[in-house]
Amino acid sequence: MSYKHIFTPLTINKVNIANRIISTAHAEVYAEDGFPQERYIKYYEEKAKGGLSLAICGGSSPVSRDSPWQWWKSVNLATDEVIPHLANLADAMHKHNSNIMIQATHMGRRTTYAGIDWPHLVSPSGVREPVHRGFCKTIEKHEIKSIIADFVAAVDRVKQSGMDGVEISAAHQHLIDQFWSPRSNKRTDEYGGSLENRMRFGKQVFEAVREKVGKDFCVGLRMCGDEFHPDGLDHDTLKDIAQAMSETKMVDFISVVGSGADTHNTLANCMPPMALPPEPFVHLAAGIRSRVNVPVMHAQGVRDPQQAERILAQGMADLVGITRGQIADPHMINKIREGQETRIKQCVGANYCIDRQYMGLDVLCVQNAATSREATMPHIIARSEKNKRRVVIVGGGPAGLEAARVSKERGHDVVLFEKNEEVGGQVNLSAKIPQRDQMAGIIRWYDMEIKRLDIDVRLGKAVDKAGIIKEEPDIVILATGGTENIEDKWGPKEGMCVSSWDVLNGKVKPAKNVLIYDGMGQHAGAGLADFIASKGSQVEIVTPDPKIADDVGGTTFPIMYRRLYALNVVQTPNYWLEEIYKEEDKFIAVLLNEYTEVTEEREVDQVVIENGTVPNEELYHALREESLNQGITDTDDLYANQPQKCLQLCDDKGFVLFRVGDCISMHNIHGAIYDSLRLCKDF
């Protein structure tokens, strides 16, 4: 049978898990006031509906008040008030015969003190943590005692709520592995020095927890498989720790992750972005599995069912986490079960989710606008029971594709015009950047859905007003995107500069000595520098932002920096591009320092501009007056997730006109898709 291993059940303690693809603990940033409420519960319930049998929620849910949680809106396990909310979550999951556990942890130094109780953070030896600027004090014995008691109380709360288990975290440098790691533990008492001493705190936590909740409640451990720090824990030591913890018989499962996480660069490995190879750390899970006698879980860069099946079949892990994969498609498991693997919206590793989380923002999927909006946005589009309408969509970027997909799923006739020979819009450009080719996966899924849904796609032909009217539409959606935003003062018409699009498209060859001006600070600018430098050019990238790729999240900018430094790209933040003029065969770029207001000049062979887009509005203005709604989208209805009132007009004569995505103003991929989903779901 195909996927035999995935669909072989496993019992951990008393928990029966029907299939081997799980959702591992991650910070959702959905809890409200420290409690899982409607949004949080619906997010997990959707995965249960999608066939998931085990979810571990609440990444980094703290057990103590001195482990502040507010900046990532975590679940707060330090209070009894959480119990009824956890019970609601458990009920929702159990209704679908799914299991739910929660991670419980103490962050030690790995947080910031500036919130709620403004505590003084604790850590084994008071060594500060770099990523979170986690200044901390050396933990004292009475604090150790009280934190152990906090663990016990928190796990007991979870047990009382009816949830199926707890995962205690000793990964990503939380308090337990701060004790384990010589990098953060310099103690000389019984909690420091030898490995046995360094393991003491973690064991004491498990002993105390077990004493309270008994042997029948599932309690597992999440740990690192190798910190990749010379002064940290290596794989062999962590195997010793795993074996020791397994031998205590108090640990029901071990979940293994690779890489430490207390520097910007190591953090990027933890949720491997698209630049990393598939499943980069599965060998660490396999290594640990060779030494323990409890089931081993592993997540990190596993994206598709074949990968999961192979990892399971080879005995590298007992359960495979596809966590980002199920953020992208919570119905993944059902689709595998039903032989619809090609319909899975596969995670591409863009890390929009986790990069938002590290900014303290709610986790959203770059390609699925319904995720975590389950209360209002459907993952499965129901057919409309209303009139069949003719929907004409102009533009085949992510906004137009989503509009076409949703409208067709609603049962309408859909025509999609795309002026290029292929759909995808700017996403196709983004996929040209080295190590970001997987962006194309977003479009590949749409392309396959469009074929499955048999949508009438007219490629390679720009359509005008007459062409649209000829289709006799009831609804017209403009998703015409934007064009490069190149300011006149840079002399584009005089040939002083070229656009990033032209370079990425291959229309313009990179010159020898190139200055890139990045007015955006997003993936495009740094990516463009990588693209051009990879072709052998000498590149300087200039931006008015405080640093290069300033708007790129915590798991992605380190990858870019790794490459820019390796390619000797000169990074020049804090400068504006004022003007460009020509001197003989060279271009002179005039740069203005944001802070000193002093100008400098650069003599280069080429200036390439990445400055976002301005909307394409011609068709909108041409059609607006003729449309029944004057081209107006009722934003009150839109934001309230209600159908557009003007839709009632279009069933007799004429058409209503809407716009989505960059043709209104520049948004990102998620924004474009969300625009279309929220508008078209009610067609």
């Binding site: 049978m1 669909f7 072989t8 059940p9 029966n16 066939g51 015969n97 032989g339």
Partner: protein, 645 residues
């Protein structure tokens, strides 16, 4: 001379014919008696012949009205003629009515002869040629010759007014006709058919087929181990190992070729022609080779290479092994046979010999059997995985001593993702309907259908015992299954071992749930077009052809029937172990079935059997396909969508 020809010749001919016929009867009985004595059938069964002929056989023959009417005219005319000749010529009873009756009888035979001639002149390839081409000549010469002789003899036409040449010609025709017809037993002519056909009806190996009109008897019969000891095989190794009435049944074959037209393996040009197979047994019975055979040959096997006597090994003196393994046990041949011959039983008997006595089994079939022995399932899956499909649905698994209303029997479908989908949907539909159900525990064994059909009766009996022991632990009202092979076995074949269960196929049970309002259709599906493929073991084996159609009529808007559907459905190619033995032909059976579906122009092909799903879903589009392949879905999926599960 004229006087002799007109007055004495007919009596002489009649006498010789009767003598010849009697000699023929003795000869044929001798041939049949090469078979072993078996079933205790009373001689008095011959009194059933008229009813069985007029009701049961007619029910089958009447499907082809042309030949049914032709047969009435020809056979009725000939038999009536001969019967009337006895008083007229034998006893000199002459009056207007008898003459008129005899004349009309010959006229009827004449009309029949014309129609036989017409059909044969169309030369459908299924009809055997050779001696069979003589049938219309025999009928026409008999009827013309005796028709005129009757007119002369009665005096309605003065024989003296007719030229001597004409009378000689007519007399010659009469002579030829009556020898052709009545030569029967000795010469393999129409009266042999009268003889063996009638007696076959009386002593048919499956007497249950005559219980009522169209009655089915489709269960394989258990091996009689006493007989097996006696003849040295649990099956049949040579023609004489067949019971005498089985030889009689083969002898009744009229080589009409309806079986070969229906046979999926023949259509795929695998080395099986059911008609030729029966004739190969007849060749063995008549101690000759197959050169006299004048029908379509077995694909890939030329004539003249096989022959023998009743003691010769069937494999490969008379028949090739690949022929025996090509059969899908679909029963299309049996269904079509106007002589009610049981081809599949014969094939299974030969397989029982091959498998159990000789161990001569195609490699993949042998592997599957070994899997069954080791793991109780064909795929060799870990038996502990039987219930994996159900774990997250909260389906109860019965413990010993427990009871439930419905016992849901997953069968082999439990091990394959594609089939698990069907199981899950049926379970979810039953949950939605509020039906109390449970599945058997992990001791469930394969139902045994596969083992039995590849001739492994010992293993079949082991499976039966395992499952019946398991079932005896439970209390339940009915069994529901989504597998027609499970359905057929539990319903019809376990009964030989004392099994008595009320069993429903999911098509029947889902229909019942809908009709009783336990689930209801939210909206009939209108955005897809459907055709339904009848699984052999549900349709032909159990005549469950209406329930799935009623279910579809309630759930979907657009259904188109394939040409071959219902009791005449074409097999998917899986059954009888054929998917494992996988004997090569020019085409694949599932590909042809897919073409049947494509000809209806629908976008969805509905199945109701996991094995049909395997075969049809496994069809891949090629450049030779008739266009895009319809999606293959189980009927449970259609139902689930219509009731908005």
């Amino acid at each position: 001379m004229q006087g002799f020809l007109v007055n004495q010749l007919p009596l002489l001919l009649l006498g010789i014919a009767l003598l010849g016929f009697t000699a023929g009867v003795i000869k044929r009985i001798g041939l049949w008696r090469q078979g072993r004595h078996d079933q205790a059938l009373k001689l008095s069964n011959i009194f059933f012949i008229p009813k069985r002929y007029l009701v049961d056989l007619h029910h089958i023959v009447a499907r082809d009205t042309y030949i049914a009417n032709t047969h009435i005219a020809a056979a009725g005319g000939v038999v009536a003629s001969v019967l009337l000749m006895i008083p007229i010529y034998g006893f000199g009873l002459t009056n207007f009515y008898l003459y008129m009756a005899l004349f009309l009888a010959t006229f009827s035979a004449f009309i029949g002869g014309i129609f036989v001639w017409r059909r044969r002149s169309g030369r459908p390839s299924r009809l055997s040629r050779g001696k069979w081409n003589g049938v219309p000549i025999a009928l026409l010469s008999f009827s013309i010759g005796f028709g005129f002789l009757t007119l002369f003899q009665s005096g309605y036409i003065n024989a003296n007014s007719v030229s001597i040449i004409s009378i000689v010609v007519l007399s010659a025709l009469a002579t030829l006709g009556i020898f052709e017809i009545a030569g029967g037993g000795l010469l393999n002519r129409p009266f042999k058919h009268l003889l063996s056909g009638s007696l076959h009806l009386a002593f048919h190996p499956r007497q249950a087929r005559f219980k009522s009109k169209g009655a089915l008897s489709t269960d394989l019969k258990p091996v009689d181990w006493e007989v097996a000891k006696e003849i040295g095989t649990p099956g049949v190794k040579s023609v004489k190992d067949f019971a005498w009435n089985r030889l009689l049944s083969f002898d009744a074959c009229i080589e009409c070729g309806k079986c070969e037209t229906a046979c999926p393996a023949f259509a795929a040009e695998q080395p099986l022609n059911p008609k030729k197979l029966i004739q190969d047994f007849v060749a063995g019975m008549e101690n000759r080779n197959d050169l006299a055979y004048a029908g379509s040959p077995t694909p890939g096997i030329p004539l003249g290479e096989h022959g023998g006597n009743s003691s010769s090994p069937i494999i490969s003196d008379l028949v090739e092994e690949d022929t025996i393994w090509s059969c899908t046990s679909c029963r299309a041949c049996v269904q079509e046979c106007p002589m009610m011959i049981e081809h599949v039983d014969a094939i299974i008997d030969v397989r029982r010999d091959l498998t159990m006595r000789r161990g001569n089994i195609p490699e993949t079939t042998a592997e599957a059997l070994e899997n069954l022995r080791q793991t109780d399932n064909i795929g060799g899956n870990d038996p502990k995985q039987r219930a994996n499909w159900s774990l997250d649905l909260g389906v109860a698994m019965l413990k010993d001593g427990e009871k439930t209303d419905v016992l849901f029997w997953p069968g082999e479908a439990a091990f394959e993702l594609k089939h698990q989908k069907t199981l899950r949907l049926v379970a979810q539909l039953m949950q939605k309907a509020g039906i109390e159900f449970a599945i058997p525990d992990l001791r469930e064994a394969d139902i045994g259908d596969f083992a039995r059909r590849v001739g492994e009766e010992v293993l079949f009996e082991t499976m039966v015992k395992k499952n019946m022991d398991l079932l005896s632990n439970y209390t339940f009202n009915k069994i529901v299954t989504a597998d027609p092979h499970v359905y057929h076995s539990l319903k019809n074949e376990y009964s030989s071992y004392g099994g008595d269960y009320q069993i429903f196929h999911h098509t029947e049970f889902l229909l019942q749930m809908l009709e009783e309002g336990k689930i209801s259709v939210k909206e009939k599906i209108s955005d897809r077009t459907y055709t339904y493929h009848d699984p052999c073991y549900l349709g032909r084996y159990n005549s469950v052809v209406d329930a799935p159609r009623a279910l579809l009529a309630m759930t979907v808007e657009n259904i188109t029937e394939m040409d071959k559907s219902g009791m005449n459905s074409r097999c998917c190619g899986w059954g009888g172990g054929a998917a494992f033995s996988d004997i090569p032909g020019k085409r694949r059976i599932p590909d042809m079935r897919m073409e049947d579906a494509q000809q209806t122009k629908v976008d969805t092909l509905v199945v109701s059997c996991p094995n049909c799903m395997t075969m049809l879903d496994g069809v891949v589009a090629t450049s030779e396909s008739l266009g895009p392949l319809p999606e293959v879905v189980d009927i449970a999926e259609v139902t689930a969508r219509a009731v908005a599960l």
